[in-house]
Symmetry: C2
Subunit: 327 residues, 2 copies
């Protein structure tokens, strides 16, 4: 089996690559080849016995993309995207990468023809939804994104469903919760504090909480996100039906519940490293985000999220900290 | 005021042009100029005192479009589209006209810059919705189109909302019901019978009904559709808010109720010109269409549909038959 990953150098892309390389198989078939695309060439996985092609390229370059897709990968994971803040700051770039790039990928698959019908797993986002929200957002709630990023993801979901319906490919769009705990350094993303209030204290550093502890949010660990991608790759198209874009199950909890989980796992001293510094702008932006979903369809289709926020913290300690906390 | 209409040679485009020319004003401002675009040059209106420019051109030709938009029309009515059946048969053409053409128009407006922010009224469709449906489709029901046409309209709605949110233009998307009674000859559209079972009998001709009389559908007269467009052009953006795409109010009735209305207005002899010839394929396609909406937001925003199917028939008799029925 040949697997093609766009955005393979990103955080989720790297974890997916590592998981596939370690498993050596997908959908009970041996993986012979990985093709890894990103704007800078992705690293090669350590433990993989098959062949790996790493490519530095632009997802919106349809000529280069066409050549890569002509080798007919069996499964395509389409993760490449400009993130929310960048798509908002640079409208043209967001459209070009998130919408035109996705369209170029769909059209490259279609151009192969001759019965080629790969599974294409697309990472969408809960940003396809826009306030005002009901208490829990059901699977049939409308898409009224309030960011350019959410708009570009939602438009791609629509195209993915139509290309699937017409038999050009077999698409599954998965709307990821916020990924927490993100490894690495604090970044400037507005949502960054959901990770940093866990990550920094566990590493012996202070973290800033800019919102009230009553703020509710929808979380998944990086490990759960990779699990969603793998499960989507093996999903039976007949069971899925025509509504191929799915909100993934997440853990819904308040910031207070996040902190309580941290205290249970790492103790009072670690939890005390969180400083409250209310920021009205961040609070206002976060208030416009969706917080709770009834992800019934995804659960019925076998997608499994993290069991609790405690588990999300444990995943971070295991996968990123080698099991060690700085007390 | 300068008004630009794409798809001006189509049925709704011609009726909109005639109405604007007859009114001589829009939003209480005198209309000085009409620019009318279609693939074949639209006809000029009879009774208009301002200037009229008619253009034969392709909506997806961004260079030509850019030149037309550079003259900064105050209101743009974007009606140009490949219809549902054609978009299904010719996937590339549907994408090119319905999605890329719409995008070209949005980008042409954005390229003008310098504070240019026209009202852009876009005719969307209830084809943005896909079965299975609830009893009545609410304003917050999700968009899961089951045709390429519906997909292209839904993706354009998303872009229109984002370009509006970012201040590039002031968009309103209106999802039209099925337009009934369509004037002219019977066509091969699957929905054609909703019009022909009224139009042909009123003209002294037989018509074929291919579905059960229990079939429910969502209708608006051509006059109501033009009324929606005019109302959308004058809508206050503050009242509208960020959810700019609206399901228009229609008349929901069964085929039996359509026929009863025809009998009330034109008598038994006319109604007897409908022949029942069940067609399983047409019945199956129609069963997948939405039939009833709760178009609350549009009504609250002042959109007014036809009061009854009787009124829809009366509009046809007045506007198309000069008040005369063939008994």
């Amino acid at each position: 089996m040949h697997i093609f990953i766009t955005g393979a150098a990103g955080m989720v892309g790297r974890k997916l690559t590592a998981r596939l390389a370690a498993d050596g198989a997908l959908n009970n078939r041996r993986i012979d080849k990985l093709t890894l695309l990103d704007v800078t060439a992705p690293g090669k996985p350590d433990t993989f016995s098959g062949s790996v092609e790493t490519v530095a390229g632009d997802i919106a370059d349809s000529t280069a993309l066409g050549k890569l897709i002509a080798s007919r990968p069996d499964v395509i994971f389409h993760l490449a995207a400009v993130v929310s803040a960048e798509a908002e700051l640079d409208f043209d770039k967001g459209l070009r990468i998130n919408l035109d790039g996705s369209r170029a990928l769909l059209d490259a698959v279609r151009a192969v023809g001759d019965g080629y019908n790969p599974r294409l797993v697309f990472t969408s986002s809960i940003a396809v939804f826009g306030a005002p929200f009901p208490d829990a957002i059901s699977d049939d709630f409308h898409l009224t994104p309030l960011t350019s990023y959410g708009t570009q993801k939602a438009a791609t979901e629509l195209l993915l469903a139509d290309y699937t319906r017409r038999g050009f490919l077999s698409g599954v769009g998965i709307r990821l919760p916020s990924i927490v705990v993100r490894p690495g350094k604090p970044n400037k993303a507005v949502s960054g504090f959901f990770s940093s209030i866990i990550r920094e204290p566990l590493a012996g550093q202070d973290a800033v909480l800019p919102v009230e502890e009553t703020v509710l949010h929808w979380h998944a660990s990086p490990r759960a996100a990779v699990g969603f991608l793998i499960h989507a790759a093996g999903l039976d198209a007949g069971k899925l039906g025509p509504r191929i874009n799915l909100t993934m199950p997440g853990v819904c909890c308040t910031v207070a519940e996040q902190i309580a989980a941290l205290r249970r796992i790492a103790g009072d001293k670690v939890a005390a490293r969180i400083r409250r510094e209310p920021d009205a702008l961040i609070a206002r932006i976060v208030a416009g985000w969706p917080s709770r979903f009834d992800a019934r369809r995804a659960r019925e289709l076998g997608f499994r999220g993290d069991a609790s926020f405690d588990d999300i913290i444990r995943v971070h300690i295991e996968d990123e900290l080698g099991g060690k906390i700085v007390n």
